[in-house]
């Protein structure tokens, strides 16, 4: 187990639900924290009587949704202003932002729903959604459904595998990489082999 995870688990055991909320919130907003593993462990602790499994699920879900939304609104309010101050605004003209918004709007399931399972990608999608001003209702719907599914999956795995959650945490990490790489490979094969004029 890595040092970050062991440190976080100690905090979860000491500060309980508050720690679960803070870790899932920070993990969703941008920090690369292993919040899925923490949730799995917390549910495993619940099967041992340390936590209430229902509250772990509720708090984990609330932390994830709050983190995503905080990321979305922070970028929506301050994103362009900060980019302009850093003189990077010229790389984000309205035409590009419009194209990004149209793309997210047209494919919300792969772009928002499924990216919730990838903690390194989801914050980037939140940033793009916020900066391109994707309609909030649409973002919230797919983001919440994605988090609901993701948190439920982690909690179910933690509940089923109990004290062996650590092994499942490793397995699920590789499983997600496998899915992502498989999806990307299939897409590229389709683009190169079956499409005559590729567009990058």
């Amino acid at each position: 187990m890595n040092n970050v995870l062991t440190y976080l688990l100690s905090e979860v055991l000491v500060y309980k639900y508050l720690a679960i909320f803070v870790i899932t919130f920070l993990g969703a907003i941008a920090l690369p924290l292993p919040s899925g593993s923490v949730l799995m462990a917390a549910i495993a602790f619940a099967t041992q009587g340390y936590f209430n499994a229902y509250w772990v699920w509720v708090i984990g879900l609330a932390g994830n949704i709050a983190g995503d939304n905080a990321g979305y609104w922070l970028v929506r309010f301050y994103g362009i202003r900060i980019l302009n101050k850093l003189r990077l605004g010229k790389f984000f003209p309205d035409s590009r932002l419009e194209a990004a918004r149209a793309s997210l709007d047209a494919h919300p399931i792969p772009a928002i729903f499924f990216t919730r399972f990838f903690t390194s990608i989801a914050p980037a999608v939140n940033v793009v959604s916020g900066i391109s001003r994707l309609p909030y209702g649409r973002y919230l719907l797919f983001e919440s459904l994605g988090e609901l599914t993701e948190v439920s999956c982690f909690c179910i795995l933690g509940y089923i595998f109990g004290s062996n959650w650590e092994y499942i945490s490793k397995l699920s990490g590789w499983f997600l990489v496998l899915i992502l790489a498989g999806w990307l490979t299939s897409y590229l094969v389709w683009k190169i082999v079956f499409k005559k004029k590729p567009n990058v």
Binding site: M1, T6, Y7, L9, S10, L13, V14, F45, T47, Q48, G49, Y50, Y159, I160, F161, G162, S163, N164, Y167, K170, L171, W174, F175, V177, L178, A181, G182, L184, T185, L188, V189, K191, I192, K197, P198, N199, V200
Partner: protein, 131 residues
């Protein structure tokens, strides 16, 4: 946009390079997944899970699996120890007990965490032998 980016040959070469990279990642992740699963299976965890009961107190824990990140409160719970047992056995004076992890206690007391860990394991084994 630079002109070469619009060149279909360049686009095709770029996509092919990315495809090779993703295929390598795909193969590696598949291999890693199989290795992890084999480790998991060889350790008997799947069989153990099959018969595991979820009720508190039914699952047996191995004292050797105690880790430094665990708090004394958690250890007391999973080994069904009296709340003050480890405090007395290990002569812990820290006011945060039992809400303190082994590593954190070792840092505060400027001790080696491995020593406290071993002492904890020995105390738990002694308790289970006497009960």
């Amino acid at each position: 946009m630079p002109q070469f980016l619009k060149n279909p040959k360049f686009q095709r070469a770029f996509l092919s390079a990315v495809l090779i990279l993703t295929t390598a990642v795909l193969a590696y992740s598949l291999w890693a997944l199989i290795v992890e699963f084999q480790t998991f299976n060889q350790g008997g965890y799947l069989r153990r899970q099959h018969v595991r009961h979820l009720q508190r107190g039914v699952v047996e824990f191995d004292a050797n699996k105690i880790s430094g990140w665990m708090t004394f409160k958690y250890i007391n719970l999973i080994f069904n120890l009296p709340p003050e047992y480890l405090k007395n056995e290990l002569k812990i004076t820290d006011k945060r007990y039992p809400d303190v992890s082994i590593v954190s206690l070792a840092k505060r007391q400027k001790q080696d965490s491995a020593e406290i860990l071993q002492a904890t394991i020995a105390a738990i084994k002694a308790h289970s032998a006497n009960n």
